[in-house]
Symmetry: C2
Subunit: 244 residues, 2 copies
DNA sequence: TAACATTGTGTTCTAAATACACAATGTGTA
DNA sequence: TACACATTGTGTATTTAGAACACAATGTTA
């Protein structure tokens, strides 16, 4: 092993039934939605004795014939019935003792979906949307995974038009602002918020109005199509410098 | 597997010698240093037929009894002889066919070290520092790993005092600016650069001057001790909002 | 002692962030 | 039918950060 991952085929075969392969690989998905003015995450009751009563994230072992992105996409599809979702890898958690049954490393993804479009397989009623801010404790290291993904979401939200994956096609600026406030746990000045969103030039004015609201209706907007990217953004390796 | 990673011990044992464990887990380290006014990366000649003549990053399989972080730290120590290094996880690469000899997923870390303090095990003379901007092609998917890590480094450099891990304890503002310029591939205005660094309040003026320079010597500075963090920063999950 | 390379420093202009108030519109209800 | 209510839509003044830009002083080398 002295030369890194430059394993020769023979070497690889020699060790392939030894300890080196006794690490299982899984993915876990932090699937966010926005419902009742709250950021929620899809969780399921843990069926391990050790974690009885606690919730866990949705995950699965990675199959030998699928890559990590495919595995997380599969989980998302199985659970939400949705085809076209925003999904991004965040971090890999690999502590020795993170899984009580053996050595399992897991790669965490976060996903943003529109609550209205999802059709949960709720036949299994352990599966449900849980408000993120109420969650204190989870099975495994899933609370740490959730926190890390929430941190990443908060970073992304400032700079990239990802948040729209949580909203229906048409939305008012009030709904958008409430969503930012829910994710960031802050309150924002309405005029400044509108100015800033305006500068970003992400939205199209649909010339339609809200309906069925018990107050003066607001204009409806949608995201400009060129910003609808469901696949993970590619990080430019040549960003505009911010230093001097 | 329908309940994610909630594997019961029995389930785990049942599958533990089946295909699910036929995925090997490795780490790869993108170890940067700054030498001769260039950003360099530590590489080694690939010893696979398929990649003859190409360089690869330093990596190794993760041992069943070590964390991912521990594994990458071990590689770093083995190769550079250094004890106290900056190391941060970046991304996990899991394409099915990324390794010609079998299914190997790898978690990439990047590391920043001071070229002067390192004692390379150069007995193996395939191992060397290679200028990052010359590298066009590498073994495996290592060029993509390098690019991703360089992208992360560029992001970090703007906001966090990580760059100082590439410099000796004492440095001049010119050296610091040249390092920023090397990493970001831009040229910066000297007065604006100094103003911006001043605002950040990262440095201590040592009241010492450069020596042995063929021109007017500049003042020497060092990083304030409270910013010396070798361990990965913890991402706050409650950042200051930048929206409105 | 002159040419050279580099240090150290400040102002103006522009862009973005923040703080803040009032008239207009549609709904619900007395 | 008119009033209370909730919310929309809009602009200015202040502060803060970024960008562009020039010149005298210092130490080295030839």
């Amino acid at each position: 092993m002295a030369k890194g991952t430059n394993l020769k085929t023979a070497e690889l075969e020699k060790i392939s039934h030894l300890d080196y392969f006794n690490i299982a690989v899984s993915v876990d998905c932090v699937i966010f939605c926005y419902e009742e003015k709250e950021l929620k995450v899809l969780v399921i009751k843990s069926d391990l004795e050790e974690f009885s009563g606690l919730y866990s994230l949705l995950g699965d072992l990675v199959r030998p014939d699928e890559d990590l992105d495919t595995a997380s996409y599969r989980i998302l599809q199985e659970r939400t019935g949705m085809e076209d979702v925003y999904l991004e890898q965040v971090h890999t958690f690999g502590s020795i003792d993170r899984h009580p049954s053996g050595r399992v490393i897991t790669t965490a993804y976060y996903s943003l979906i529109d609550a209205k479009h999802q059709k949960l397989r709720l036949t299994n009623n352990d599966l449900h949307w849980h408000p993120v801010r109420n969650i204190k404790k989870m099975a495994f290291d899933h609370k740490a995974i959730l926190d890390t993904c929430l941190g990443r979401l908060r970073e992304q939200v400032m700079e990239h038009p990802v948040i729209f994956n949580l909203l229906p096609e048409k939305f008012s600026l009030r709904e958008l602002q409430e969503l930012y406030e829910a994710i960031l746990s802050v309150s924002l000045d309405r005029r400044n918020f509108r100015k800033k969103i305006g500068i970003k030039d992400w939205l199209v004015d649909l010339n339609e109005m809200e309906e069925d609201v018990p107050h003066r209706p607001g204009k409806l907007y949608k995201l400009k199509p060129e910003f609808k990217r469901k696949t993970p953004r590619r990080k430019s390796s040549n960003p505009r410098p911010q230093i001097a």
